[in-house]
């Protein structure tokens, strides 16, 4: 069998099918695709497991906890599907392996520290900005929402604005 490891689907085909999945999400459930919302649910579930009273009282998690179990949510099931889908696709392309993705010019340690810090920025940013690239921007753009376009300008505009400072990590 041919080595597919470095072969990727045509980006427009991938985008088109993600677009169809997004339409389906709105059509069946009235929801957009998202992922930071699922992270948030997991965090709130951990609060709820440790102390239900705290989770109820905290302004951060109160509204979610008072509405039922935090993991009983569309986004959580969607993200489980995302993980399954990614594993299926990686298995087909032969990309299912332990590996650190990085620029060849930096060490593994640098890469992992940067990844951790990057994750922390995302964690705060998504909560403040009400969603991530999928939940805020892509799903927002799909319904012509102003907030989606503000997110687009901020995330990608900001990316180009700050790219120079982080170039050593990538090129």
């Amino acid at each position: 069998m041919k080595d597919l490891k470095n072969k990727y689907l045509n980006p427009y085909i991938a985008g088109f099918f993600i677009g169809l999945a997004l339409i389906a999400a709105y059509y069946f459930s009235g929801e957009g695709l998202g992922s930071s919302g699922a992270y948030k649910r997991f965090v709130i579930a951990s609060f709820d497991a440790v102390s239900h009273t705290y989770a109820l009282k905290s302004h951060y998690s109160g509204a979610v906890v008072s509405n039922g179990h935090p993991l009983d949510s569309w986004l959580v099931f969607e993200i489980l599907g995302v993980m399954a889908g990614a594993i299926i696709s990686a298995a087909i392309f032969g990309r299912l392996e332990w590996k650190i993705g990085k620029s060849p010019k930096i060490s593994n340690k640098t890469r992992l520290i940067a990844a951790l810090l990057g994750g922390i920025f995302w964690g705060v940013g998504t909560q403040l900005g009400r969603g991530c690239t999928s939940g805020l921007i892509m799903s927002g753009m799909a319904v012509n929402s102003l907030s989606g376009y503000i997110g687009l300008v901020a995330v990608f505009g900001g990316g180009y604005l700050f790219a120079w400072f982080f170039r050593k990590l990538w090129i």
């Binding site: 929801e31 998202g34 949510s73 986004l75 939940g135």
Partner: protein
């Protein structure tokens, strides 16, 4: 450029052209445009009096939701029986929006010390699309000065004035007696059932 890519471009363009030739629709919730704010400010029907509130509380009206828009410290010191706290600077956070959206079932009344802060809250919430909201005219000042310490009308006043005076004296006995006076009533005595919208569309990453 590969053929598949061009095919997707063609599909996208077709979709775009198709959309552009369809009539425009409003697909989002209608909001109050700014030019109507003046009309809103002059809309007097939002006011309810302390007597209305007192009567509703004495009758244990379950459909009444009193909302204290002052700061939490003030709310903790004293508030009306059963009132919940929505400080004006977090008036439209998620929890509060959910409560406010119950306004088709509940009579929601904003109050503050005077009238102006509650008016401001009313304007913010109404402009954000919430309906059937009210403001307590005179606020807690009126509650203490007019309701709990009613002044005897002059002898030549109309009969209605005397009836109001009698009602206020009864109300004063009810509230200062039944709730043990203003000093000790830091905890709301009447529990208000909080409305929660069913089958709410969550979505996104909010």
């Amino acid at each position: 450029m590969k053929k598949t890519s061009l095919f997707i471009f063609a599909l996208l363009l077709l979709g775009g052209l198709w959309s552009a030739f369809l009539p425009n629709v409003k697909t989002h919730v209608e909001r109050v445009p700014n030019k109507d704010l003046i009309t809103l400010v002059n809309y007097k029907a939002r006011y309810v009096s302390v007597d209305d509130i007192a009567r509703a509380l004495m009758n244990q009206d379950k459909m009444l939701l009193l909302v204290d828009v002052r700061m939490p410290e003030q709310y903790k010191q004293f508030s009306l029986p059963g009132a919940i706290n929505m400080p004006i600077d977090s008036l439209l956070n998620e929890t509060n929006q959910q409560l406010l959206s119950g306004s088709d079932v509940y009579n929601i009344v904003f109050f503050s010390n005077g009238t102006s802060l509650a008016d401001k809250a009313w304007l913010i919430a109404t402009a954000a699309g919430f309906k059937n909201l009210h403001v307590l005219k005179g606020g807690l000042n009126a509650w203490f000065n007019d309701l709990l310490q009613p002044k005897r009308p002059a002898d030549w006043a109309k009969q209605a004035e005397f009836q109001k005076y009698e009602f206020r004296r009864a109300a004063a006995r009810f509230f200062t007696g039944a709730t043990g006076g203003e000093e000790s009533s830091s905890q709301p005595k009447v529990k208000v059932q909080v409305p929660v919208k069913k089958k709410q569309v969550g979505g996104g990453c909010e």
